[in-house]
């Protein structure tokens, strides 16, 4: 009898090209899909050229431009070379590198351009059972399809370009089970913030999360991507969800998904990927979705999250080891221990990023904003995750809802998630953001971020303060 296997173990085994020759050595792991963008790839191409090596499998790699591109619709590429010459040069380099090595690229202004983790799934490139890597930590997003997907450094980007393989040590497994049914107003973002608040930002280190349970099964594919996206914020190498009917329905007829007879064969194969009964994980965490509320962060890492109705923790009540970090975070955020987070005034609302910029995120926020106004003291940016999301939103009039409410309707990109372009918070400004990182200065030097769901973001935009969306549902 063979030992029952987890989803992760099956995907790992399928891609093991050369197992470790002796204990402690890495496995040579085959990579099915490699995503690249302008920021973490130039030095990798240089490494290739220094070694006089070609890109081995150019059609298993695909590029986009997302991190530093402007999202102000009035900025042309020519203008951008003037506004930000250094960032612009990096974009030119990606154009040249892809051209020279025959790597497909959805570049500036192209129909399929978008945040790398939004673009790949919507094109059907992301598929169950794949190994997927990108020089970007939120590659964990693609695990929503039952892929083993993880972020890599630039040296490794070079390794994949040259060999379509990576040297990897096998991570451990960690089941994150969320039972029960989430109440209205409690979204995928709230589930994952609750997981990280409970398990800590380092709790998943060296592990792959597999999300299971009723509340996970009930999520749409876009919700599952939100959950898997933030696995890295819990320290995990990747996050995975076994493919099911929702996965297949999402992928059917996407441009790069298998078609015709190949589709049937693929689905039959994908159905064999799920974790078998009796398989064990190295660690486990169980939550009940029914007990969760909308979550929001108050500090400077995503684990510093509380229910929106809760008060800001007091460093004096923390264990010694945790106290200095919390004091430092509250000092940076200029928040008082013991104060409620609800009704905290805000300056900016950012609806975007690879966590929450898909069509359903925009639609959820637009439903709340329809016929209402963004508070007069608040600037709201709506940044669709991809050109495709943007077109679909415009076809359905969402952009008119946002504009009528007084929000800015932008081009697709990472934007204020990492503030590499001119979308930034000013020093001391508070923002409710649907992105994934509230690190010091992440959204602009001195900027202060509250991470929350698109619903909480929209409700807060209207109120001009941190709001509990359940009050207006």
């Amino acid at each position: 009898m063979t030992t029952p296997k987890t989803l992760f173990e099956k995907v790992w085994q399928r891609h093991s090209v050369v197992p470790p020759a002796s204990p402690g050595l890495p496995t040579v792991l085959a990579i099915d899909l490699h995503l690249i963008h302008e920021v973490t790839s130039p030095q990798a191409f240089s490494q290739l050229e220094t070694n006089n090596l070609p890109v081995r499998r150019p059609y298993q790699t695909v590029g986009t431009m997302d991190h530093s591109t402007p999202t102000d619709p009035s900025i042309t590429r020519d203008h951008w070379t003037v506004l930000d010459a250094i960032a612009s040069k990096q974009l030119d380099r990606l154009d040249q590198n892809c051209e020279r090595h025959g790597v497909p690229l959805h570049g500036w202004g192209s129909n399929d351009q978008g945040i790398v983790h939004v673009m790949s799934p919507e094109l059907g490139l992301t598929q169950p059972g794949f190994t997927i890597v990108c020089g970007d930590s939120h590659t964990s997003t693609h695990g929503a399809f039952g892929a083993f997907a993880f972020g890599i450094g630039t040296s490794e980007v070079g390794h994949v370009l040259a060999t379509q393989c990576l040297l990897q040590h096998k991570p451990k497994t960690f089941e994150v089970r969320i039972d029960g049914v989430a109440a209205p107003g409690v979204t995928a973002k709230d589930l994952i913030l609750a997981v990280i608040a409970k398990n800590g930002v380092q709790g998943g280190t060296s592990h792959v999360f597999e999300y299971t349970g009723e509340a996970i099964r009930a999520l749409s594919m876009e919700g599952r991507m939100t959950v898997c996206n933030m696995s890295i914020e819990g320290g995990a190498k990747a996050g995975m969800i076994a493919p099911d009917e929702a996965t297949f329905a999402y992928l059917k007829d996407r441009p790069h998904a298998p078609q015709g007879a190949a589709w049937e064969a693929a689905v039959a194969d994908w159905k064999t990927l799920a974790t078998e009964p009796g398989a064990t994980y190295d660690k486990q965490l169980v939550l009940n979705a029914a007990a969760l509320e909308p979550m929001i962060t108050y500090g400077t890492n995503p684990g510093m999250a509380i229910p929106v109705t809760d008060t800001i923790p007091d460093p004096a009540c923390q264990p010694d080891a945790a106290r200095p970090s919390l004091e430092k975070a509250l000092d940076y955020m200029a928040l008082k221990p013991g104060a409620p987070i609800l009704h905290q005034p805000i300056d900016v609302v950012f609806l975007g990023s690879c966590t929450n910029s898909r069509y359903s995120d925009l639609e959820a926020a637009a439903t709340l904003l329809d016929g209402k106004k963004v508070h007069s003291e608040v600037r709201m940016l709506v940044v669709p995750g991809s050109a495709h999301v943007k077109r679909r939103a415009e076809e359905n009039g969402l952009h008119e809802v946002f504009k009528a409410a007084g929000a800015e309707w932008r081009e697709a990109g990472c934007s204020m998630c990492l503030a590499m372009n001119n979308d930034k918070l000013g020093p001391g400004e508070y923002a409710v953001s649907t992105s994934n990182r509230n690190f010091e200065g992440r959204q602009g030097p001195g900027g202060r971020t509250f991470l929350a769901s698109p619903l909480t973001a929209a409700a807060s935009a209207i109120a001009g303060r941190v709001a509990d969306v359940r009050e207006i549902l």
Partner: protein, 203 residues
Amino acid sequence: MEQFAQLTSTLAPLPIQDIDTDQIIPARYLKITSREGLAEGLFSNWNDDPNFVLNVEHYKAAKILLAGNNFGCGSSREHAPWALLDHGFRAVISTRFADIFRGNSLKNGLLPVTVDQPTWHWLLEACERDPSTEVSIDLETCTLQLPEGSGIAPVGFEVDPLAKSCMLRGTDQFGYLLEHLPQIKAWVAEHPAPVDTRPIKSA
């Protein structure tokens, strides 16, 4: 990458937990297309503070950073180890490193040394009390030698065997991977590419 065998140095203490790679090097420094010159951006969010450890005269020359738990979490940017190396650090000691940062560091000759809580506390106290306190790292034997008189025996740490041999020789892991190209080619012959990224039609 520079060879790493032994290192004797003072320590720069940065006892904050969960220092993410955005703090090590903020995104605005990532627009470059080379690996050089990143020291300028190292910890630049904190650099204006005259009390920040790298602004304190007697910690400036330290080649070892003593950092809080879960160092290097967040973004996968390899610019983080590049910036630490460019500043002159050759090793970081912590009680835990985030996975991607750890891998990136080992590929560039920056040694992550994981120690237990008591050792970490001892080091912190020692370098805060006397900034001239030196420790020695021996990669061959994977030991951290505390100063004479500390009364503490050399502390062992773990480095995976491939990363260790690469660092000792000053070669990167790329060569090791390339040695496997024949096996990779044989595998690929039996496993056709499951995807073709060339544009088909607009989604």
